[in-house]
Chain length 276, copies 2
Amino acid sequence: MVAKALPKPHLTQAARPATVTVDALNEHGESVPTLIAGEHPLTLYLDKREIVTLMTLGTAPEALVLGYLRNQRLVTDIRDIAEVQVDWETDSAAVTTLGGTRDVVALLERRTVTSGCGQGTMFGDLMDDIDRIRLPDEGRLDAATLATLLDNVRRYESIYKQAGAVHGCALASADGAILMFIEDVGRHNAVDAIAGLMWLDGMGGNDKIFYTTGRLTSEMVIKTAQMGIPFLVSRSGLTGMGHAIAEKVGMTMIGRAQGKHYLLFTGGQRFNSGKA
Amino acid sequence: MVAKALPKPHLTQAARPATVTVDALNEHGESVPTLIAGEHPLTLYLDKREIVTLMTLGTAPEALVLGYLRNQRLVTDIRDIAEVQVDWETDSAAVTTLGGTRDVVALLERRTVTSGCGQGTMFGDLMDDIDRIRLPDEGRLDAATLATLLDNVRRYESIYKQAGAVHGCALASADGAILMFIEDVGRHNAVDAIAGLMWLDGMGGNDKIFYTTGRLTSEMVIKTAQMGIPFLVSRSGLTGMGHAIAEKVGMTMIGRAQGKHYLLFTGGQRFNSGKA
């Protein structure tokens, strides 16, 4: 069977430089030129309607905008999107749909009433979704592949190593090879940008591993589950609600993963530690 | 002059336990009971109108709710608040005002249109504010007091040390003594809760130091400036926009502060490193 290429939206390629250098004084009173991560407001317009201002590193703005629209379910099919135009002169991203967006006003009203700005998501809706998600059980991950993934990730974290103050997310294949790697000043942005890239490529999540440098909070687990990815790995710790949701959707979740160390928290049926 | 005690809102005292223990398997296949931070949805109702769902550690929910209302400017005077009732059976915080809230609908509509869920703030409004803020120049901080503050903070970080996955914020007096210390799964929540406690106590910020374990992003700098605090110290790094806003409002901002090390980024006129 030959896969038919889907029409893709027209995208600008408006990546910004990731870092700037500023002067600082250290504890010895010495001047230290210091590389820091960029942070820029990007106001998203959907068919000329203002939706949100995201604070972003700006290295993958088009993917971020697509992923945001996808994860907030403001657009449900990427084929409906004709164009994403990012313009840093006006700090704006203008998204044009093919048929116009019918329900945005209703969706935005709902967002105001039922959900949260505090964590950047539509909480009520998301929890409804979670009840419907059960991740497929076939995938397997072993300790050697996890080690390969962690080693690959270590080599990719360029902006963090240079400037700190960013979170990184990676999408990896089942053998631990990194397919996508995005860093952003916002944890949620990095996840959204990966969701945007997967959407563009028509890529499913069920044979993938998601890695994040950030903490495994409820929202991180929910977004990974929404992408259909059964494996979630983090260098950091987790929260009680992240743990509960991972159990509910049947996710294999691994925290504190760095070097040779890790803690397997949920979904052990898919994981082979190589130990008896 | 005798300060007259202001009437204060009636508050529940509905703090939740900060941690839960879950089982994990380490890289040797050993079972490791692991303490993790709690995370709970808390839906805020203002005069029976649903405003937002915050994901919180839940150890200072009343202060969080007050600080959220203050920082989002949904209520401008704490004397207008009669009661904050937190009920974890329904994961809700019901806030009752004395006169009823007149403008909430308009404020919420504005939030939808002009501002961001991505970072949890009303971006447009906040940037307008920043143009009006110029922090007072009198305060002074020297390297020895900074060292005292960092040492005090190190001893306070109990939940982080136990369970990770939380950010801590401290409000300190000019001599480095900690007045308030709040940890939360959300960086913004910890700041908001401190703003709520300051509001309750009628406490100004101009002779205070604000400490955060989190990164110095634009929003962190903006909130500190809104609280009128001239000193902002973080263990972590900063972003370009955080740096630019700190310069604009004249804030003394210190990053990478840990042990004996720190980097002074802005507002050097208030800081004495003790070096020639």
